[in-house]
């Protein structure tokens, strides 16, 4: 009952915020047409809410948001199939040149190592982390935990979270072939919260009481440390257009950078970036 009350209250608040904050939406007045967005999946919660606000304000605008992964987003926008292509990594020099891309980095996201809340371990250094994920350290005892084997959880190859974790936390070290594959940030949280001996990694935005975030080389992965750059396992969330963004695409990107947009980005657990 209490939960229901809070949900309805927050819906009410969101609606009323929308009513007051019309100046951020006013560029969409008298606009018409459709906007197709696809690519990186980490972006979706933020862009979806932004799109809903815009479409509620002006029902003549139609915005569709699809997934597909960072590579797909870049390729599709480059070939002119969609208006905005999202990527959870910076497009490569080759891609930028080939497709004449304009990049808009609007948020920063961190990737945190997580373990079960019953696990006493709280700090791991890079070298140890590499040894754990490559399967050289196999027992929590070696890290001061209890005598139990380490269960490694990882993400599939299409995951942007995996990409940044592998590059910046493991420094491109091996991931054991025995690692269990999980298909989303949410599922990773569930798996680790249920397995006392688990180790995995999730987007900092998803970190909560169900799992325990582990400090990496002494730095805890919270929003402040990601923002200041002290926690290094982080990445930008990019939206890319072919050539300079114009028309509806430009207005959409402007909206993401507006005060309203920043609020949405924060509420989804990311750090807004300046353009």
């Amino acid at each position: 009952m209490k939960k229901l009350f809070f949900i309805s209250l927050s819906i009410f608040l969101l609606v009323s915020i929308n009513c007051f904050a019309q100046n951020n939406l006013s560029p969409f007045k008298n606009e018409k047409g459709s906007l197709d967005i696809a690519g990186g999946t980490a972006h979706i919660p933020v862009l979806k809410e932004a799109a809903q606000n815009i479409m509620k304000f002006n029902p003549d605008i139609r915005i569709t948001i699809g997934g597909g992964g960072s590579g797909t987003g870049i390729k599709k926008v480059g070939e002119g199939l969609i208006d905005i292509g999202n990527s959870g990594r910076k497009p490569t020099e080759n891609e930028i040149e080939k497709y004449n891309l304009s990049m808009y980095k609007w948020a920063i996201d961190g990737v945190a190592v997580v373990i079960n809340t019953n696990n006493p371990v709280s700090d791991i250094d890079t070298e140890t982390l590499q040894k754990i994920f490559s399967g050289k350290i196999t027992n929590w005892k070696e890290l001061g935990g209890k005598d139990a084997s380490i269960n490694i959880y990882t993400r599939d190859e299409a995951s942007g979270t995996r990409d940044v974790f592998w590059k910046k936390a493991l420094l491109k070290g091996d991931i054991s072939q025995k690692a269990v594959f999980i298909s989303s940030n949410g599922a990773m949280k569930t798996a680790v919260s249920k397995d006392d001996n688990a180790i995995g990694y999730i987007s900092v935005g998803h970190l909560d009481d169900n799992v325990k975030g582990v400090s990496l080389n002494g730095t805890y992965p919270d929003l402040d440390n990601v923002k200041s750059g002290k926690y290094t396992v982080s990445r930008g969330l990019y939206s890319n257009t072919k050539g300079e963004a114009k028309g509806l695409a430009k207005k959409f990107i402007d909206y993401i950078y507006s005060e309203d947009g920043k609020k949405i980005i924060k509420s989804k657990g990311f750090i807004p970036a300046e353009r």
């Binding site: 597909g68 797909t72 190859e157 025995k178 269990v180 594959f181």
Partner: protein
């Protein structure tokens, strides 16, 4: 008279065109799989089928997935066989007449539950159980998947077993009893041997389902890319591999491996169901 011939023709035409449609769709799926897979096979030959999976080292083979598919499906089939045979005998022959009907109704219901529900229940019941009894590991293992898969394919097998036992009882049981055999003896030495074609057919169809199922292995087997050597280790099946890699780039070799998986799965399940059909048809004669 004339109008009847016309409607006859119309009916014939409708039935034929329906059959041809279904046939051509099934065939064109295979042709499409091969056709779309050609660019990938031209690039890397048939190495997809004989290599291990390690994109970091440029290896995109599906050998671990082929191995895991069978290492999960065979124990599941083995477990399900005895489970189903016992159940079918109970429901068709030796069971208390009061319980026979509810038992077969229960199986009918079980066969219509979507596999994702089985998998979901497995995550919360079997996985923690296996994690606790196993020497090590996360519980996402080939044993978990195998056990749940046995439960999933049992209803299909029970129906085949049940039908053929009922059929064979009709002609043999009374004679057996008249010769002085007990109910159990008649079942074991006369009815079941005579029902063997239906039982084989059920086994092959069950095998096809076990190999073709996606959700259970995707959600319970852990999807690691190693060759699991113990029942408590995790592995990735062909079907789960397709589900996992689908999201990657179309041009990538990762995507190519999907076609290799698809063609292989298509062939395996097609052969199994054709064999099952041939054996079952023999029963009639």
């Amino acid at each position: 008279m004339k109008s009847q011939t016309k409607s006859d023709l119309l009916l014939k035409f409708t039935i034929y065109s329906g059959t041809i449609c279904a046939f051509s769709v099934i065939f064109s799926i295979f042709i499409l799989l091969v056709f779309l897979g050609i660019p990938f096979f031209q690039q890397s030959g048939l190495s997809f089928f004989f290599e291990t999976w390690n994109p970091g080292q440029g290896k995109y083979g599906i050998l671990p997935m082929i191995y895991t598919t069978f290492i999960i499906a065979f124990p599941a089939l083995f477990t399900a066989f005895f489970l189903s045979l016992g159940f079918a005998c109970f429901a068709a022959s030796t069971g208390h007449s009061f319980l026979k009907k509810p038992a077969i109704t229960l199986i009918r219901t079980a066969s219509s539950i979507p596999t994702v529900v089985y998998a979901f229940i497995g995550v919360f019941l079997i996985v923690p159980f296996i994690r606790n009894i196993g020497p090590s590991g996360s519980g996402y293992s080939i044993l978990s998947a195998s056990l749940m898969l046995a439960l999933l394919i049992s209803p299909t097998m029970i129906f085949f077993f049940y039908d053929s036992i009922i059929e064979s009882e009709k002609s043999l049981k009374e004679g057996g009893l008249a010769l002085g055999a007990t109910k159990t003896e008649a079942l074991l030495y006369l009815v079941i041997p005579n029902a063997k074609n239906g039982i084989y057919a059920g086994v092959f169809l069950g095998m096809g389902r076990a190999i073709g199922d996606t959700m259970i292995s995707l959600m319970l087997a852990g999807n690691s890319i190693s060759f699991p050597m113990s029942p408590f280790e995790s592995g990735r099946t062909l079907t789960a591999h397709i589900g996992l890699v689908m999201a990657s780039d179309y041009d990538s070799p990762e995507f190519g491996s999907i076609f290799a998986c698809g063609i292989l799965l298509y062939l395996i399940t097609a052969v199994l169901s054709i064999v099952s059909k041939i054996i079952y048809e023999k029963t009639g004669t």
